[in-house]
Subunit: 354 residues, 2 copies
């Protein structure tokens, strides 16, 4: 409990300072899914592990891939390598990854009985491999940069738990929301408790900030986002996690003001969000993270640098901006572009502040 | 040229009146992709045609499927059955549909030479089958409801023309935008001329309103939507098409005010848009179309009716609302839900106005 609270021992605390809207010498940067398939060394470790789940469930291998992007690029944070679906897997839904198909649950929630039987897992007992990874990564980082923990939001977890896998339209989820909303609320209630317990355990194990990924909240109808997604994220954010929090909703533009008032320390923006308007709305009360389109990295490095400068300019020089992509970095992203991006954000933002 | 301008001869002119923000006895309703795979009779006709393209290219079969949803549901408009990619097909890119794969171009735009060689097709010569379908549908409708023509927006067409097919991230398009923006502008310029000519020809052939589908404009970065999508849609909307216009951008929430000032008569909203805020922004200057989540139709009919009432309430009783889904109706949508939706919108909105 002592180690991870000693920020003074961090060699690079720019991320944590930016989360507190304190001045930093440059804009800190990390990349969603920075330990991912665009890295040849990640693919090699994954091949060695045999499967994505074997990789995610091995603390040693999760540590190895968490550190890989930091060895290549001067990023300002590490993010735990794991999967957002570890919680429903621990609930007994049976997670598997078919090659090239994305996640599938063997036992999705398809009747009232299975929904009423849901219970929040005890992280120490059922998600110990994740907490072991957090501890091992903290040791390996040796105070170089902070470690970000994460979880999927209650609604985003519910999407997969109900649908049984990914979907273009989440028709089963939406049908349940309209036909039996009380059952969707029952799932979300359990998920909120589970995510809160899980993030607290990650912080106790050493995570120095946590991010809540509401990947699918932005697919809800305008009036449904607040009652079916944000209300449950808010419970988690206000449950005393013990570390600064980042709330990200892909496509969250219509609800930015409400997200900012949710109790989080920072709001993550995708690339369709207006950074200047978001800064105005935030009014210095929360930090902002984002928001370069990950597809930009397929342009030539000089064009990537120009786009990075425009993004830094859009957020402006005031404290409280964490540079990131607007969503996860894409497979096959050229490494030269990533290098150019990280270098330009560092150099350009440092120069702006000078 | 006379027939289609005689609205007085229309038995049901609620759509055209709503587009002019004039009072109507109830809220008119039609559904994006209403002639589609959720209808068994559509699937039968498509099977008879042999392929999607054969169906789209036969005026007789296009007329048959355009009319099918109207025979089943009391909808307030017909929409031309066609494909948004007829223009790039006529430009010589070689459209084909592989079964279960979506559209592919045999010759996507992959070098400067092919981009510089692009030319807007002459609709009368190269898209005559569409204009024949418009004329045949108008005859078959016999003044029952108006016929809506349509086209993809210049940016949406460019997405497929550059990428060669659908994409989750449009990485080739985004790379071109950043590395060679002048080439993307060159494509958009030709597309804008082509779409304008095409929609004018549809109106001359009998379309009584036209809709511009900017399906992918909402995937652009905040600052890129205006210069790379809306600027070219605006040219079309302000080119004197001769019929009222509807502009739809999926995920267009961040740019609604600019869309409303584009010269269109109505803005189409997806289900993440705040209908009340959109009404306030529109201030009676443009009509609004939308915005029920198509996945809602997978709920029980009574729940669909409740959701329909909430949507009618959100837009309020003032004139200028056209009920629609927030995107195309999904394959496998239950027919009972569609019946319930159309019936409820008609009955509930009529009662509100009484």
């Amino acid at each position: 409990m002592e180690l991870h609270r000693q920020e003074a021992s961090l060699k690079n605390d720019t991320l944590l300072r930016a989360l507190r809207r304190e001045p930093t010498p440059y804009t800190p940067i990390w990349l969603m899914r920075q330990a991912g398939r665009y890295l040849p060394e990640y693919n090699a470790t994954r091949a060695r592990a045999g499967s994505f789940l074997a990789l995610a469930k091995s603390p040693a291998l999760a540590t190895e891939v968490t550190l890989q992007p930091l060895q290549r690029f001067p990023l300002d944070a590490a993010i735990l390598f794991s999967d957002i679906l570890t919680i429903p897997d621990a609930m007994g839904l049976g997670l598997r990854f078919a090659e090239g198909e994305g996640p599938r649950f063997e036992r999705p929630l398809r009747d009232e009985q299975s929904i009423r039987a849901l219970a929040a897992p005890d992280p120490a007992l059922e998600l110990g491999y994740v907490l072991d990874a957090v501890r091992e990564i903290r040791r390996a980082l040796a105070g170089s940069v902070p470690l970000i923990g994460f979880a999927g939001s209650p609604f985003t977890l519910a999407c997969y738990m109900i649908e049984g896998g990914g979907s273009d339209d989440w028709r089963t989820v939406k049908a349940l929301r309209h036909s039996r909303p009380e059952l969707l609320h029952a799932i979300l209630e359990v998920n909120a408790r589970a995510v809160s317990d899980y993030l607290k355990a990650q912080v106790e194990a050493g995570a120095q900030a946590v991010m809540l990924f509401d990947t699918w909240g932005g697919t809800l109808a305008y009036e449904d986002y607040e009652p079916f997604s944000l209300a449950y994220s808010r419970k988690i954010l206000q449950s005393g996690l013990g570390a600064p929090t980042i709330l990200f909703t892909k496509g969250g533009h219509p609800w930015l003001a409400a997200m900012m008032a949710s109790g989080c320390d920072a709001v993550g923006l995708d690339w369709t969000a207006d950074a200047r308007e978001a800064r105005r709305l935030a009014a210095g009360r929360v930090a902002l993270q984002g928001n370069l389109d990950p597809a930009t990295l397929f342009a030539a490095p000089e064009s990537v640098r120009a786009a990075a400068r425009r993004t830094v300019d859009a957020f402006g020089p005031q404290p409280g901006h964490i540079f990131n992509l607007g969503h996860g970095i894409l497979p096959a992203t050229p490494l030269d572009s990533v290098s150019a991006l990280v270098d330009e954000v560092r150099a350009y933002s440092r120069q702006l502040r000078a």
